[in-house]
Symmetry: C2
């Protein structure tokens, strides 16, 4: 599958081009286009800042105008930090990630324009795009550098195709133990606690047992961990009362 | 509402601390804690790289150990680039953003640990946390610098509380025109096209009209844009045929 093309328009610092390449590759984006980089191209400062994402820079293509850089593309996004009062759809980075997956699955060639560090894209460059991309961020501090803006796009592109569960326990084998083994531990724990005089009042016994059960249930122990707990209980009974 | 505390553990470069502060503020995070920064604290290089996020650095607190830095917290995440084979829940950055909103709404004090630039957190530091946070990224290139990792957390925290629609048209007044006005334009367009001989074959007339209707419907013109289109049709009829 092809990936969205990142188009840096009149970038100023080679270092930022290199950091943008690194951010792209973090999210699996490999195609970079450059429109009139200020300090010329190739620029050693870019490779120095790319932390190994050289391949993106090696294959970057140079263009004289935005129109040239997007001429072969079917759908183009323009990133802006602020609204430009143009009657054009605006999407979040998250929405762009999902849309780009759909568009590219539908064989469209897609690109995302990023403006120069200080000024951003010119209004006519924004107008050349189909859709504006604006990242929702703290309105009191939206100063986002070029590589960070590229990172958020690359990140959302990657997330839109990623299957990692939101929350899971490390290690496939580390599933919580079957309930029968959990009950076996609880029975043993309660028996030892009773012998040790922990639950002398009969009416509290049920409540205390339930509290302990809830605590250990929340931890969702694995079989291995239940064995460790059995050992701990045994050791505690042997330890006796310290003088 | 309080916000998650970003805890940088043994950060090496002051510049990275400053860029992390900037990334935090992008997502509305303001509380930074530092555990034994390599080059001491305060460090001028941090302020120089913060792009105006000075407030975060001014209020950063210094700690001698991770245990000290998390002593008053109720829930702690540890960021890691790779799985550590610890039987601990792992969450994505997106999940962490949502969970942190819930935890903090429930009055928990929450923090997120970030390790030093090269080595990351030590295993015992990871074990001190409740939950591991790992950002799903290109497995062939996971090299993410400290400030970028902080940015992705701050970004997801912000998104989890943000109400921006995924896709909308710029400007609240720029809603698509009522259908009656759209039909009025289509009628006029078709009438002029017929007069100009565009749809001579009667059996194609319905099809062509429908194609044009679909094209203009996709653009979803506003009232202002319909006026512009009316004007354009009028001008074209006046322009006559070029010799």
């Amino acid at each position: 599958m092809s990936t969205p093309i990142v188009i840096l328009v009149r970038p100023q610092l080679g270092e930022n081009i290199g950091m943008a390449a690194r951010a792209m590759l973090n999210g699996g984006l490999t195609e970079m286009r450059l429109v009139r980089p200020r300090d010329g191209w190739p620029n050693e400062a870019a490779w120095a800042a790319a932390s190994g994402a050289d391949r993106v820079l090696d294959e970057a293509k140079l263009y004289a105008t935005v129109a040239d850089a997007i001429a072969d593309l079917n759908h183009v996004y323009a990133t802006t930090a602020r609204s430009r009062a143009q009657a054009k759809p605006i999407v979040t980075a998250r929405q762009a990630g999902a849309e780009l997956r759909d568009l590219i699955a539908d064989t469209r060639r897609c690109g995302v324009l990023f403006g120069p560090e200080r000024a951003g894209l010119e209004n006519d460059e924004v107008a050349a795009a189909d859709t504006v991309l604006t990242v929702p961020l703290n309105p009191d501090f939206t100063s986002l550098n070029l590589a960070q803006a590229v990172l958020l796009l690359a990140y959302e592109w990657y997330q839109a195709g990623d299957q990692t569960p939101g929350r899971y326990l490390a290690g496939g084998a580390d599933v919580p133990a079957p309930k029968a083994e959990f009950e076996n531990f609880m029975d043993r724990l309660v028996a030892h606690l009773e012998r040790g005089g922990f639950m002398t009042e009969p009416q509290l016994r049920h409540t205390v047992t339930r509290n302990l059960r809830n605590l250990f249930q929340r931890a969702a122990p694995t079989e291995q961990e239940l064995r460790t707990l059995h050992g701990a209980v045994k050791a505690l009974t042997k330890a006796g009362t310290p003088e």
